[in-house]
C-alpha cells in the first residue's frame, strides 16, 4: 500500500467509476483506489455526500482525484474546500490519466515526475 497517495475516481455513472477502479487495481495492486459514481438514487450525476464519504474513508493524506465531466470537478472543488486532506484534482483524461497515475504510484514514482507525466494527458 502506498501510504502517502490514494486515488479517487468520480464519475457520473457508478459502473464507469467501478470498472475503472478494477482496471487500475490490476496494474496497481498496492494503491488505494476508491470509486464514486452516480446520484443517490442510482441515476446519472455526481453526489457531493458520496464523494465526501468516500474521501473520509481514505487513510492517505494526499489524494489524486480524477473525474469524467465538468460538474464532477465542481463537486470535487467543493469537497476540497472542506476536507483536511490534500485533494489534488487532476484535469487529465479520466481513464488514461487515472491509469497512468495508479501505475506510477504503484512504482513509487516521485510526485514531481508523476505530475510531469500527467501533463501530457491534460484535456480539460
Amino acid at each position: 500500500m502506498s501510504e502517502q497517495y490514494g486515488i479517487l475516481l468520480v464519475s457520473h455513472v457508478a459502473e464507469l467509476a467501478d470498472g475503472l477502479a478494477r482496471l487500475l487495481k490490476q496494474a496497481a495492486k498496492d494503491v488505494n483506489v476508491k470509486a464514486v459514481g452516480g446520484t443517490e438514487d442510482g441515476g446519472i450525476g455526481t453526489d457531493f455526500d458520496k464523494i465526501m464519504g468516500a474521501l473520509g474513508k481514505m487513510k492517505e493524506p494526499e489524494i489524486l482525484a480524477f473525474y469524467d465531466l465538468g460538474s464532477a470537478k465542481m463537486n470535487l472543488e467543493l469537497v476540497r474546500d472542506l476536507t483536511d486532506k490534500k485533494l489534488i484534482i487532476c484535469d487529465v483524461a479520466f481513464v488514461e490519466g487515472a491509469y497512468t497515475a495508479a501505475a506510477l504510484v504503484q512504482a513509487d514514482t516521485p510526485f514531481d515526475d508523476l505530475c510531469e507525466q500527467l501533463q501530457g494527458l491534460k484535456v480539460k
Binding site: T46, F48, S71
Partner: protein, 195 residues
Amino acid sequence: MLTVETSRTWLSLFIEKLEKNENYLNTLDAPIGDGDHGTNMVRGARELRSKLAQEPPADLPELFVTAGWSFIQKTGGTAGLLYGQAFLHMARAFQESADLLRGLAGGLEGIQKVGHAELKEKTLVDVWIPVMEDIRNQRLSLERINEHVISTKDFQAKKGRAAYVSEQLNGHIDPGAASCGYFFEAMLEAGVYDE
C-alpha cells in the same frame, strides 16, 4: 423588503415554479445537454422544502445556508452545485448586512468561483448579472427578466455540457438561464425587491 419572511416566500415560490416547470426545463436541456435540468433542480428544491418544514431557519443567513446545502447535496447536476454555491455565498453576504444587491453580488461570486462563466457564455450568469444591473438602475420587472432569459438564445455555449455542441445550438434558450429566470420572478413576486 428583504427579510427572513419575504425570503422564505421567495424560495418557496422558486420551489413551486421549478416543480411546475420541471418538464419544460428538461425539454430545454435535452437538445443542448442531457435533458435533466428540471429533474435535477426539483430534487434540490424538494430537499429544501423538507428541510425548511423540519426546522424553520432563525435568520437570513441560516435560510440561505440551508438552501445552499439542499441544492449542493441533492441536485446531482452542474446547476445544482452552482445554485448551491450561490446561496452559500449569499448567506455569507447577508451575515454582514441584509442588502439584496450585496447578497446577489456574493451569489454571483460563488457561481463564478466554481463555474468560471462570464457573460454571453449561455449560462444562468446571463440572467443573474443583467438582473443585478436592473436592480442598480431600478428597472427590474418580469418583462426584463424574461428578456434576459430569451437573450441566451443567441449566445454560444462555452461552459458545461452544451459547450460540446455549441455551434449547433444557436436559437435554444439555456435551461439554467430559464430556471434562473424563475428564481428572480419569485423574488419579485415575494416582495423582496422594492424600488
